[in-house]
Subunit: 293 residues, 2 copies
Amino acid sequence: DLRLNEENARFALLALLMAGYLLCGAAVFSAIEHPTELENHRRWNRTLLSFTQRFNISPGEFRRFLREYEVAMAKGIRVDALRPRWDFAGAFYFVGTVVSTIGFGMTTPSTITGKIFLIFYGMMGCAGTILFFNLFLERVITLLAVLMKGFRRGGLCLRGGDPETDPGQEEGGGGEPGQLSVWKPSVYNVMLILGLAASLIAFCASALYTPIEGWSYVDSLYFCFVTFSTIGFGDLVSGQRGSYENQTLYGLGNFSFMLLGVCCLYSLFNVISIVIKQFLNWLLSRCCFCSRH
Amino acid sequence: DLRLNEENARFALLALLMAGYLLCGAAVFSAIEHPTELENHRRWNRTLLSFTQRFNISPGEFRRFLREYEVAMAKGIRVDALRPRWDFAGAFYFVGTVVSTIGFGMTTPSTITGKIFLIFYGMMGCAGTILFFNLFLERVITLLAVLMKGFRRGGLCLRGGDPETDPGQEEGGGGEPGQLSVWKPSVYNVMLILGLAASLIAFCASALYTPIEGWSYVDSLYFCFVTFSTIGFGDLVSGQRGSYENQTLYGLGNFSFMLLGVCCLYSLFNVISIVIKQFLNWLLSRCCFCSRH
Ligand SMILES: [K+]
Ligand SMILES: [K+]
């Protein structure tokens, strides 16, 4: 029937757009990063050659040693002492990266027992965290609705449009976790506020990381985005050095920023995805479906 | 008012349960992995000492060299040649791990331009992918509904309960992406089918990875869970060697398994989160709220 066709068309259109988005992204990133990669390889080969020649180490021998070092690094060993990986605090950081699906990978289970336990532990933990994020978004929307109702009553209406006829409003509560029956803030309002909140958290967190971790401000912002979006590359990970000044306080601040940031960015992604859905609907209504009716 | 109180209580209860879950998980993982960590450190120190003594390298000098190697490794350099990171195929793999938020971290942007571009690229990409997953779940529920309707009509009803009075059913379509107005399969049905599908995909994918990547079957299953859940530690990453037999075919199979697996497990997590929500509601109705009414 017609509704099914429309849903299938929307899904196919999105798949097509995403494929194009990936191809374009791959081309751009390749253009940006490829020259640096070649330069890095050249520089490393020079360093390696000069070191083996200086100490008269046979290349085969040295490769065998470096292979062992790679295995050791995968188990969390570094030249400069890092914090212990599997003391209680380290394990707590680890399970945090599991249930949030950030997965930095600075700590990974190396025993078979640990790996099997991770599968079952992660299954429940990730589901619980998704629920936590969804309830958080629900809470945010409720809070915004209450606040805006207050503004309206006080005559401080910030938006020109009538909320009852706002096109963004039906979608905002329809497909997504927040279900406010009485009055809903538009998706655009929620998107704006979440975007501002996420930016503010990222800027504040970066101001914390820059002096303490010794990263540049851009690197700190990049770390914040990679963490809050739960991508979690692991090229930069906060709180990994052996010791910090005010260790406990920093750990607490780090945890709070990450929790808040992940909640905000998860909610923001969900709200942006609603806007993209509206855009798809608009595209579909403009092109083929219109002509068939 | 009462509904708001209930929502707040549910959120607080979940936060409490999650905190407990994290603490228990940290204790268990610490107990499993801590002894191995100590053993790894002892073994590595022996290897390091014997190597520096044999070639008469001063420890300070060697530490400086290994520090350089760590920096080079972060940029994707390994002893055994890996596939190029930033050719088009590598960049495509990279953007795939970005928009899916898997973020293995085997490839990360090292230029400032790349890092800043990533923030904007990831913002839209992650939102698009969340929509893709949500539409996928919607499609699955629709498909199941159609299939089950067919079974019912043909007299092949598999479940004993009447779907019209099934307690799982109202929740299944209420808070979550799939909104089927006519007839909905219960959350438990969807959970079972998604769980079976995800397991089947993981078992098949592991059967592919075990011979080609040379991982043990348990490691392959662990890799599948870590990837499909979008945790993406990056301790094991498929398709990274310099060359494979049937490279293109393997790349395609790898991509397909990951896409299917991530879609299934994302949907499964969402469905499990609905069951957890029902469990929270049941807990709340049992304890304090009941006595107040
Ligand atoms: K990751
Ligand atoms: K991740």
